[in-house]
């Protein structure tokens, strides 16, 4: 698995719950407290161990942990900025989700990002089909979509619904694309780093 994925889980645990919880999780899975390197690759089984250890440490079910991770990622400024390049408003963002895998690969060709298929059903209702290398990507994407709705200032209802075979599904009900003013996004990266 790409180190960026493990590193994201690590950053989520450390930033949201503190270094001591992260150290416990690291010890559980037999790695040092310095954790993962985003630009190295790790055994796939280690990612699974990491998710299980995080579930145990937080005492939360898998889907909840993964959704929280997705929401966390969208608040990390460099990631948020890269996501905001997908569209001017939430509507455009939703319609560009199918490109998300391609965008991810444009930056990191060996990143195991899930394949997303976007179906518009009726006025404002969409179903997103998620096919990822490990189960649970649907929940991660649901968390990400929810946090990005806040970022764009859109009013949405997002729900992980029954999977169809190996294909996980997320339902999006877009009530208003511009409900409140979203967070600021300038095309030019602010000077002095992020």
């Amino acid at each position: 698995m790409h180190g960026l994925i493990n590193k994201s889980v690590q950053a989520f645990l450390r930033d949201n719950y503190g270094p001591s919880l992260w150290s416990r999780v690291a010890q559980d899975i037999g790695i040092g407290p310095e954790g993962f390197e985003a630009m190295l690759r790790y055994d796939d089984a280690l990612t699974e161990d990491l998710i299980r250890a995080a579930m145990a440490a937080l005492d939360k079910p898998r889907a909840v942990v993964l959704e929280d991770i997705g929401a966390y990622l969208a608040t990390v400024e460099p990631v948020r900025r890269l996501l905001r390049f997908s569209g001017t408003d939430y509507w455009e963002f939703l319609f560009s989700l199918e490109e998300l895998q391609g965008r991810g690969r444009m930056a990191l060709p060996d990143l195991e990002f899930p394949e997303l298929r976007f179906n518009a059903e009726c006025r404002g209702r969409f179903t997103l089909e998620v096919r990822g290398p490990i189960p649970g990507w649907g929940a991660v994407i649901a968390g990400l979509l929810r946090a990005m709705a806040d970022d764009y200032g859109a009013l949405v209802l997002i729900e992980v619904i029954e999977p169809q075979g190996i294909c996980e599904r997320v339902q999006v009900l877009l009530l208003e694309a511009a409900y409140v003013e979203g967070r600021r996004f300038d095309l030019a990266r602010p000077r002095g780093g992020l």
Partner: protein
């Protein structure tokens, strides 16, 4: 490459294309008349050229064409810009930002001037910053946003890689240091010493400086270790290491190569008398009693020295054997002394120097 078209009377059909629609499709279009005066322009280009309306002003007031051929054609009224070739323009107000695009003639033989469509080239990131451009300033068909996205993604990945490289380099350095250091005394270990000796010999072969090799054995160390325990033994080794370090210079190598065995690689052309004095100083300091907890530890040292200058072609094995023989001679003569190999002070049968 001919465009496909099923429309008859194309010009009439297209007359419904408003400047607004044109600007939406091509936010950086520019329409010049035959004399090179601006007739119309897209909203993004307008934003770039500043608050004063450029309509009716000459092209050359705002842009400079990139090549001599193009400059001539601009002077001729702009019609000759339309050649299907890529155009390069720079902004007069911002010569650091260049634009590129292409131009086509409008009307019969360019009677209505030329239509130019522009885009940012490689200076996109800078242009976005300087002119405060937003997503709305780019046509959806323009890859500008993808380019900006890639630029940021690339920067983030490179930052990560740079940080990773720095961490790996630190780890490598400390691994190398660990692999070459004696953990108890912090001196060089046997491996580090052998590397240094090889290097000194190679340097010598290339006309480098001579050096001396000193083997130092602690005397009575075993007694300290056996009667006062390992902790006292370790303490004495640490103190002995301090003495050796203090009595040598920065460029010299001090190594612990066995339990109570040390070697010194002393650089430079040192006279035997100076080496003997140095040996005597070391031994005198080793013989000062050290107090470990409540116990007094007394040791001494025996030293054997070999000088590279004594050999026609110095060789690591031979020099070490000769330093050992000199050390052995010091021990045989009652310990607590320093012997220089080949100096004539060695006991009969000890010298293997030829």
């Amino acid at each position: 490459m001919a465009a496909r078209c099923t429309v008859e009377r194309w010009e009439d059909a297209l007359s419904g294309l408003s400047p607004q629609a044109m600007g939406q499709l091509m936010p950086m279009f520019l329409w010049l008349d035959r004399r090179g005066t601006v007739r119309a322009l897209g909203p993004t280009l307008g934003k770039i050229l500043g608050p004063e309306c450029p309509i009716g002003t000459p092209f050359a007031q705002h842009f400079q064409l990139g090549s001599a051929r193009a400059r001539r054609s601009a002077a001729a009224g702009g019609g000759a810009m339309a050649g299907g070739r890529r155009l390069h323009l720079t902004l007069c107000a911002r010569p650091d930002i260049s634009l590129r695009g292409s131009a086509v003639e409008v009307g019969q033989n360019g009677a209505e001037g030329v239509l130019v469509n522009l885009t940012f080239g490689i200076h996109l990131v800078e242009a976005v910053r300087v002119f405060g451009l937003t997503e709305a300033d780019f046509a959806p068909s323009d890859l500008a946003l993808e380019l900006l996205y890639l630029q940021e993604a690339k920067t983030a990945v490179l930052d990560e890689l740079r940080a990773l490289n720095a961490r790996l380099d630190d780890a490598r350095r400390s691994a190398v240091t660990q692999a070459l250091t004696d953990p108890l005394t912090g001196l060089a270990n046997r491996r580090a010493f052998e590397l240094a000796l090889d290097k000194a010999l190679q340097g010598l072969a290339l006309g480098g400086a001579p050096f001396a090799l000193a083997h130092v054995d602690l005397d009575h160390f075993k007694a300290v270790n056996d009667t006062l325990g390992h902790a006292a033994g370790d303490y004495v080794l640490t103190k002995a290491a301090e003495v050796l370090r203090a009595e040598t210079r920065r460029g010299d190598v001090v190594a612990r190569v066995g339990g109570d065995e040390f070697v010194l690689l002393l650089r430079g052309a040192l006279a035997p008398a100076r080496l003997a004095a140095m040996g005597a100083r070391i031994i005198a300091r080793l013989e000062q009693p050290w107090v470990f907890e409540t116990a007094v530890c007394r040791i001494s040292g025996s030293i054997g020295v070999a000088l590279s200058a004594h050999y026609v072609t110095p060789d690591a094995g031979q020099m070490q054997a000769d330093a050992d023989a000199a050390l052995y001679s010091s021990k045989r003569q009652g310990r607590g002394r320093c012997t220089i190999a080949g100096s004539g002070e060695m006991a009969e049968g000890d010298s293997r120097l030829s």
